[in-house]
């Protein structure tokens, strides 16, 4: 038991380390992120001043980089849902070191994604029109409702399992941290001391949330797909779009989770807890979803190509042979086939290999969103020449600002909140050492142990 206690102390020290020590490299990183974000804000101020004419969007191609990035961010928000909720429901133990990161990616990605819709509006004040004049029959309203509900649920789902760890921070950092941090941990720990009544409530809350969050997440990306599928455009005429988007969302969510995990593991030396096992298992999931995406693409494109409704020929030509061919072939080969090969070959089935596959998937999935949005609008509705679209510097700058905001929020989170779900990791370890059958009661016993000293 002394060994177990030493292990737990090491775990707690690892969890507390990012909060306790802040080096110059951290501030340098924050500086870069703030600078890019500031440049993006400047570009946005130009757009606000001069209007959407500063973008490449016009009457015929009226969605572009912003909406593609919105769909991309909503997609990667599925990282938290899959890893945390689905694997929690299925009681997969290996998930425990990465759940907290996954849940936080969800919240940050939703905030960034929702921002891009408002940016795309041109006039942000008109967001209020959605509430003032919105109609229940509109997919736009469904989208607003689904994303709002998902964001609320995700914040709650991030917070509730974090309560025992916040109590740990409250107790361990008393007198060793700033007053605002002490106040923050004291407030957010909501008086947790691990008694029976608290555990019962926490178990019930997590149980409800992990069941609830899965259908909400699925509904969010389904509704996002309906914004396209319910618009009269030949390339978007598909009943498969909902499932296609959900699969793509989980696919890109896993990829971004692997990348963030790899960075945090290296920066905060989490090698003991975030091991090769997590990367390889997530790599398997990545490969499985790549296979699902290949199937969905074949189904989608073959049906379009076989029926060849008016406009479908134009669309397939621009995808495979003309304007979008380089992007689309990269998506198919680099984003769908290569990750499967990397994960299945023993020589490349390593942490580095899985990270490379994830980078490919992330880039490819952003490209896929861009191609879906722009190529779909490019197909002429009447016998006129097709329009063209190229993002301007304003759009690229705002896009870079969005990515910087995403990185900045994650960077700051790691300096304030526990990036490892200490009690869950401890439960996993404890179960492996002492008992092969983990229970939630056991989980929370350990969590309460971690929160010791508060009562």
């Amino acid at each position: 038991m002394a060994t177990l206690s030493a292990w737990q102390e090491r775990l707690e020290a690892t969890a507390l380390a990012p909060v306790s020590r802040t080096g110059a490299r951290f501030w340098a990183l924050v500086g870069v992120e703030v600078a890019v974000l500031g440049w993006g804000l400047y570009a946005y101020s130009v757009q606000l001043r001069d209007g959407l004419v500063v973008t490449g969007m016009r009457d015929r191609i009226s969605w572009g980089l912003y909406i593609a990035t919105f769909v991309f961010f909503i997609g990667i928000s599925h990282a938290g849902t899959l890893i945390s909720a689905i694997l929690r429901v299925s009681q997969a133990r290996w998930r425990t070191p990465v759940t907290r990161i996954a849940e936080f990616i969800t919240v940050v990605a939703l905030i960034c994604g929702a921002s891009f819709v408002i940016i795309d509006l041109g006039r942000p004040d008109r967001v209020l029109f959605v509430f003032a004049y919105g109609r229940w029959q509109s997919p736009i309203i469904w989208d607003v409702l689904a994303i709002t509900t998902y964001l609320t649920g995700s914040i709650v789902y991030l917070f509730v399992p974090m309560i025992p760890d916040l109590a740990l921070f409250r107790d361990r950092l008393t007198g060793r941290t700033s007053r605002w941090r002490a106040w923050l941990y004291r407030t957010l720990a909501i008086g947790w001391n691990g008694n029976v009544a608290q555990r019962r409530s926490l178990i019930a809350a997590i149980g409800m949330l992990m069941i609830l969050i899965i259908p909400i997440a699925v509904s969010v990306h389904t509704v996002v797909s309906w914004i396209f599928a319910m618009t009269l455009r030949v390339p978007w005429n598909s009943a498969l779009f909902g499932a296609f988007f959900v699969a793509g969302a989980i696919f890109s969510g896993i990829a971004i989770l692997i990348i963030v995990m790899a960075i945090l593991r290296r920066v905060y030396r989490l090698h003991e807890y975030v091991t090769a096992k997590q990367f390889i298992y997530l790599g398997y999931l990545l490969a499985a979803f790549a296979a699902i995406m290949i199937y969905a693409n074949i189904s989608e494109l073959l049906i379009h190509g076989y029926k060849l409704e008016e406009g479908a020929g134009f669309h397939l030509r621009q995808l495979f042979l003309a304007e979008f061919a380089p992007l689309f072939w990269f998506y198919l080969i680099g984003g769908l086939i290569a990750p499967i090969v990397i994960v299945l070959l023993p020589a490349t089935r390593t942490v580095a290999g899985v990270v490379v596959a994830s980078i490919l998937v992330t880039v490819a999935m952003w490209i896929e969103r861009y191609v879906i949005v722009v190529s779909g609008l490019r197909v002429p509705l009447m016998p006129y020449e097709s329009a063209d679209y190229a993002p301007t510097w304003v759009e690229w700058s705002i896009f870079a600002g969005g990515l910087a905001l995403f990185a900045l929020l994650i960077t700051l989170f790691t300096k304030v909140f526990p990036i490892i779900a200490v009690w869950e990791v401890a439960e996993d370890h404890n179960a492996a050492v002492t008992s092969p059958a983990p229970t939630y009661a056991a989980v929370l016993d350990i969590a309460a142990d971690s929160a010791g000293g508060s009562s």
Partner: protein, 192 residues
């Protein structure tokens, strides 16, 4: 004398040739000459169907059944003008061809009807117009398929249930906070 005779014969032959050519060339036109009248209402309303009738008869007044009439409407959109074919009908036993047209905009509607009379090789045309009044509503689509229970009420019920569950989670958090000040750790807990 001979010269006079020769000139007279030449003039007669020339006249005969010109007459023959004239008859040959104008024969179809003469044969295809028909009397065409339009029977349009003087005015219509946006969204309501307007009957557009064309009456095709012989010069003697007999109806000409079986004549195809094609209707073209002069339209303009975004500064570009042109004709759009809005329908085609064949004259009935009374020599009347009719289509129903649903105006999508208010204003004067100018139409051109094209037909090919019996025996003719080139199409002929007749013009017509009618005025349309009404609001700016272009199209009123049908309401779709009404499936009982599948409506915005169901959406609100599902959404309400989700938010109720989230609210119950909030109550659990309140319970955790209240229990924190009420009791200590459970007996038998591992030492902290």
């Amino acid at each position: 004398m001979k010269a006079t005779m020769r000139h007279t014969i030449r003039a007669a032959l020339a006249l005969l040739a010109v007459g023959t050519i004239t008859v040959v060339l104008t024969a179809p036109a003469l044969a295809s000459h028909v009397v065409v009248r339009t029977a349009f209402p003087t005015s219509g309303t946006v969204g309501e169907i307007v009957p557009l009738a064309v009456d095709v008869r012989t010069p003697e007044g007999a109806p000409l059944p079986g004549t195809t009439v094609t209707y073209y409407l002069h339209m303009s959109f975004a500064g570009v003008g042109g004709e759009a074919q809005i329908g085609r009908a064949v004259t009935d036993q009374n020599g009347v061809a009719t289509i129903g047209y649903q105006p999508r905009a208010a204003g004067l509607h100018e139409l051109r009807m094209e037909y090919l009379p019996p025996g003719a090789t080139a199409a002929e045309q007749v013009m017509g117009a009618f005025d349309v009044t009404g609001g700016p509503q272009l199209v009123r689509p049908s309401g779709g398929v009404d499936i009982p229970g599948i409506n915005s009420g169901l959406l609100m019920a599902v959404l309400g249930t989700v938010w109720l569950i989230l609210l119950s989670v909030a109550f659990r958090l309140v319970a955790i906070a209240r229990a924190g000040g009420a009791t200590g750790p459970a007996p038998g807990d591992a030492p902290r």
